[in-house]
Symmetry: C2
Amino acid sequence: MKRTRFDRDPCPIARATDVMGDWWTPIIMREAFLGASRFGDFVDRLDVPRATLAKRLERLVEDGLLSQTAYQDNPPRYEYRMTEKGFAFLDVLVAMWRWGSEWGWPEGRGPAVELVDPVTGNEIIPQVVDVRTGEPIDPTRLRMQLKSSAKRRTVKAAEE
Amino acid sequence: MKRTRFDRDPCPIARATDVMGDWWTPIIMREAFLGASRFGDFVDRLDVPRATLAKRLERLVEDGLLSQTAYQDNPPRYEYRMTEKGFAFLDVLVAMWRWGSEWGWPEGRGPAVELVDPVTGNEIIPQVVDVRTGEPIDPTRLRMQLKSSAKRRTVKAAEE
C-alpha cells in the first residue's frame, strides 16, 4: 500500500501524523520512554515483527526523535536514545494516554495501569490546556487560520 | 500489509494508537472538527483516495468517534457528525498540533497557520499538564505501573 506523506503539509497535525501514522510508532516511542534502547529490548517487550521494528526505528532516527549510537562494531549493534524532539513527543503520547484511558474501555471500566510520579508517588493525570488560560480547550471555540504574518507574506508576494 | 491490532492492549496509548494508527485518521478528524460532514466535503478538502476515505470513515463510525446519519435515501448518502468520544479526541489532535508546530519545521521556521479562539481573537497554544499540579509533565518523573486495585485482583486470582 502506497503511503501518502504529510511531511510537507502546512498543518502541524499533518506533520505530526506523518511521524505518528506508522501503526507501531507510538508504541515504540512508549517503550523508548520506559527505557528500551537496544533492538533486542524492543523485541523482548513488543510482539512486533523484526523487519517492521527495524523500519520504524530507522524512520524515527531519520526524523530525529531517536539518535543511534554504535555500542558494538562487529557485527554492528546500535543503541537508540531519545532526543530532545523525542522527549517533546511525550506530550502527544500522554494525550493519547488520557483519551485512551477514558474511551478505550467499555463504560465503567478502565485500564489496569496508571501513570505516577516516582518522587511523590502521586498519580499523574494528563490534561491538555490553553497556555494563556490554563483551562481545557473548548472544541466549540477553536478555529485554525492563516497567521497574519503569513497573510502579509502572501499579499506581498501577490503585489510583487 | 497485515495490520496488528492494539484494541485489546492493556495500555491506553496502545488503544489510542489502534484508532489513530491509520495514516489518514487524524487528518480526517481534523476536517470533521473544521466542519466537514459529508463524504464530498472530505473529498473536496483532502487529497485522499475515495476508497481510503470510505474505509477510514467506516472505522471511525465503528469506533464511535463519528456518527452516521442518512440525509438522502436513493442513492443512500450519509452525514458524519462528531460524537462525544470524537470531541474528546481533540486533545490528542491539539497535542499533535503543538508538537508538530515546534518540531515539524526547520529551525527558525514554523507553520503559517495558528489556532485562535474566535470569541476573544486570542491565539490558543495547547500544552499538556498534570491535572494535580497544573504544570507540564516532566518526562524524567513519569512511570507507568499496575494500579494497586489491579495488583489486588491479580493476587486474589492467584490465591483462588
